[in-house]
């Protein structure tokens, strides 16, 4: 990963002593199917955590629970000390989902302006221009969602997650659909976000993301399987290598 440069635009300020993201005994089931159970994890300010596990392990369920899109069936989770879904938690958390969703009648630029305004960014133009330039969205500002390729949609989704201030960033498979230069840009943006004090959780199968992370949290069958350094030797004991590469 490139050298991190703190970005003034990402105001992940006033990190409290408590972990910005903490889950204790978290569980979620669907009609008898257990997607996540007894899951406990804390992510500190300025920490980049790689969330790994095979398909269906419970990674997206955890991220959706943290974002307030799902409700836990047991345990609790807090975002900067607040319940997910509360106004304070929504202010503190930015979510980059695995499937980009757009208003069908808003352009890329209008999306960015709208999301920035919803989160109270006073002068968003400079930050919007910076993200558009760095993510290679120049010339696509006026495009509607339906006119974008998969990669362009992903870049727009990344820009939407980063255009607003936050203390916690959740990213679900953020490198999907990106070409190598765009991946490098995303790594730079994540490093800057981390340096600015945000807690970051990235769900991934990719070894390069795992290598860049401070910590690795592994889930298997809805349970915490590993929480520690991203040590390839340890991880290969837990997972088949193909599971980590998303093969």
């Amino acid at each position: 990963m490139s050298e991190a440069k703190p970005s003034g635009a990402i105001a992940a300020t006033s990190a409290s002593a408590a972990a910005p993201l903490s889950a204790h005994g978290l569980g979620r089931s669907y009609d008898g199917y257990i997607a996540l159970t007894s899951f406990t994890v804390e992510v500190a300010a300025g920490e980049l955590v790689a969330l790994i596990g095979p398909n269906g392990a419970g990674k997206t369920t955890f991220l959706n629970l943290a974002a307030g899109l799902l409700e836990p069936t047991s345990g609790r989770i807090e975002i900067d000390g607040d319940v997910p879904g509360s106004i304070e938690a929504r202010r503190a958390l930015s979510y980059l989902p695995d499937t980009p969703v757009f208003y069908e009648d808003l352009s890329v630029a209008e999306h960015l302006e709208y999301v920035a305004a919803l989160h109270g960014v006073k002068e968003p133009a400079a930050r919007i221009d910076e993200l558009i330039g760095r993510l290679g969205l120049d010339g696509w500002e006026d495009a509607l969602g339906a006119e974008l390729s998969k990669g362009m949609k992903q870049k727009t989704s990344i820009a939407l997650a980063l255009v607003r201030p936050f203390k916690v960033l959740l990213a679900d498979e953020p490198l999907d659909g990106l070409d190598p230069p765009s991946r490098e840009v995303l790594f730079q943006l994540l490093a800057e976000t981390q340096a600015a004090g945000a807690a970051i959780v990235v769900s991934t199968h990719r070894p390069d993301v795992i290598a860049a992370a401070d910590r690795c949290v592994a889930i298997r069958d809805g349970r915490l399987a590993y929480d520690g350094r991203p040590d390839p030797d340890v991880l290969t004991e837990i997972f088949d290598p193909s599971e980590l590469e998303g093969a």
Binding site: L69, R91, D105, A125
Partner: protein, 533 residues
């Protein structure tokens, strides 16, 4: 390029998040208005006018101008509030069930992702959508109520102003009560297993009112409002109380709207978007499937009854179809039985009031037939599986008609028994029912099968009127097949024998319609099989 250059600047100029949200919504509305195609708007107006004309003609026929006799007026004064109240209670139950699954709002997926995850009050964010839905529903309800009132005052005691006013108020308050119940359930995140029983208590209470002649359920009080010009003294106050309760329910629902669960909202947003698209291309089969998903109407894990006879069956298709029926969820069983009951009761009302009502049982029973035809529809949904079988598709689909036809026969038998029980002439009801069961079951099942196997894109290049005619032909055939024997029996002069004979005489039409349906199915199956080879 600066941010200010990219848009109208309304959002950037907004002082706070809520102002930004309002500015963006206003900009989107303006943009939507500018993009509207004038010809498409005119076409919609034309379709709306046609539908309104048909509805007015139906109402004019159903509520003809002959003044009702005093005994009918007394009967309506005594029983109509409870009957209407029972219908309102059933609608409130539907509202509660919808609310427990994230309804009644259908929010864009992007709105959930960006606006509802932003630090903006969800009550403020959701209220405009709720009020817009409420506005359309109450205005439509009031208008419809006023039109009905315009016909009703010619038959019953009371002035035009009284009837139009009472029924317009009733028409507005019903959607208020139903949407209020749905908003209450969604805002309080009531689970279906809680919301359903609450609604059922109201239905049971209204049923007791009907059975015991009481006037106590909140839904019955709204029934008082619908018949206000016939009521005297205390009933007017009870009607006012019913209206106040409906408004209170709405106020409670709106107050708690911010509690909407995003999980249910997201699921509903996706399904409703798909359903709207399917409806726009008149893909009835997909609409049926999506509606089941929306209502979480899944087959039972344990069948109501396990079929005996082991795994090796002489007739695997017959067995497979009954296995499907025996896994129907309770709500589907209740719906089909309710349709049968309603069809029987409406047929009786057609004999005693006006034959225009005979137009209603056909479309209702067609809905039940769509449930019965599910196994055949699944064969059609999975052409690869079907084409791998060592049997021609036409023969396979034909064999799938037998069990649904028997099922439709049972539904028609229930309707017949209900007509015999509630009507004044059981002999006539049983006779007409008995002569109509076989042709009726055949036409219903064949019409549903043709509809379920329809490919809405097959006729996309034809003029839209022709495409609509093809897509709606099965509903028309089912309606005609059920209407004809009832109308012939009503029209015939003489005793019950003559009337039953007249009904039997028309049986050839639904039989021919059914055979035509089988012909269409065979042609369609053979054509698709040829194209796949």
């Amino acid at each position: 390029m600066s941010g200010a250059d990219r848009s109208a600047g309304a959002v950037l100029a907004a002082g706070d998040p809520v102002a930004a949200m309002k500015a963006m919504r206003a900009a989107r509305r303006r943009r939507y208005g500018r993009r509207r195609d004038v010809m498409e708007v005119l076409y919609r107006v034309y379709l709306g006018a046609l539908a309104a004309l048909f509805a007015l003609g139906f109402l004019a026929g159903a509520l003809h101008e002959v003044p009702a006799d005093p005994s009918s007026v007394d009967g309506i004064r005594a029983h109509a509030p409870a009957i209407i109240g029972l219908a309102v209670a059933a609608l409130v139950l539907a509202g509660l069930r919808s609310g427990a699954r994230g309804g009644p709002l259908a929010i864009e997926a992007a709105e959930v992702r960006y606006t509802l995850l932003a630090p903006v009050s969800r009550r403020v964010a959701l209220r405009p959508a709720a009020l817009a839905q409420l506005r359309v529903a109450t205005i439509s309800g009031a208008l419809f109520g006023a039109i009905v009132g315009n016909f009703v005052f010619r038959r019953f005691p009371g002035t035009a102003v009284e009837w139009i006013g009472a029924l317009a108020a009733f028409g507005a308050l019903v959607p208020i009560a139903v949407l209020g119940a749905a908003l209450f359930a969604s805002g309080r995140r009531l689970r279906p297993r809680v919301a359903g029983p609450i609604g059922l208590v109201l239905v049971a209470w209204s049923s007791l009112d009907l059975a015991l002649g009481w006037n106590s359920s909140p839904a019955t009080l709204l029934g008082d409002l619908a018949t206000l010009p016939l009521q005297h003294g205390a009933s007017a106050w009870l009607a006012a109380l019913g209206a106040a309760l409906a408004l209170a329910l709405l106020a409670t629902g709106l107050a708690g709207i911010g509690g909407l669960g995003l999980e249910a909202a997201r699921r509903r947003a996706e399904l409703v978007a798909e359903m709207r698209f399917s409806a726009s291309v008149q893909d009835l089969r997909t609409v049926v499937l999506l509606r089941r998903q929306l209502a979480s109407e899944h087959p039972r894990r344990k069948p109501w009854l396990r079929l005996g006879g082991g795994r090796a069956s002489a007739s695997p298709i017959w067995r497979r179809d009954w296995q499907s029926f025996l896994r129907w969820p309770a709500v589907r069983v209740a719906r089909v039985v309710a349709i049968a009951v309603a069809a029987g009761a409406i047929a009786v009302a057609g004999f005693s009031q006006t034959p225009v009502l005979f137009a209603l049982p056909g479309p209702l029973l067609f809905i039940a037939a769509l449930d019965l035809i599910e196994p055949l529809a699944q064969e059609s949904d999975h052409p690869t599986l079907r084409l791998l079988l060592p049997r021609p598709s036409a023969s396979l689909l034909g064999a799938h008609l037998v069990a649904p036809a028997v099922g439709a026969g049972i539904v028609l038998a229930i309707a017949t028994v209900i007509a015999a029980l509630v009507g004044g002439d059981p002999g006539l009801a049983l006779g007409v029912g008995a002569t109509s069961i076989v042709p009726g079951a055949l036409v219903l099942v064949c019409a549903a099968a043709v509809s379920a196997t329809n490919d809405p894109y097959e006729f996309m290049l034809m003029p839209p009127e022709l495409t609509q005619a093809i897509n709606f032909a099965p509903i028309g055939a089912a309606s005609l097949g059920i209407f004809l024997p009832l109308f012939a029996a009503w029209k015939a002069e003489g005793g019950d024998g003559a009337r039953i004979g007249a009904a039997l005489g028309t049986a050839v039409i639904p039989l021919l319609l059914g055979l035509a349906g089988i012909g269409v199915l065979n042609w369609r199956a053979n054509k698709r099989e040829r194209e796949a080879m």
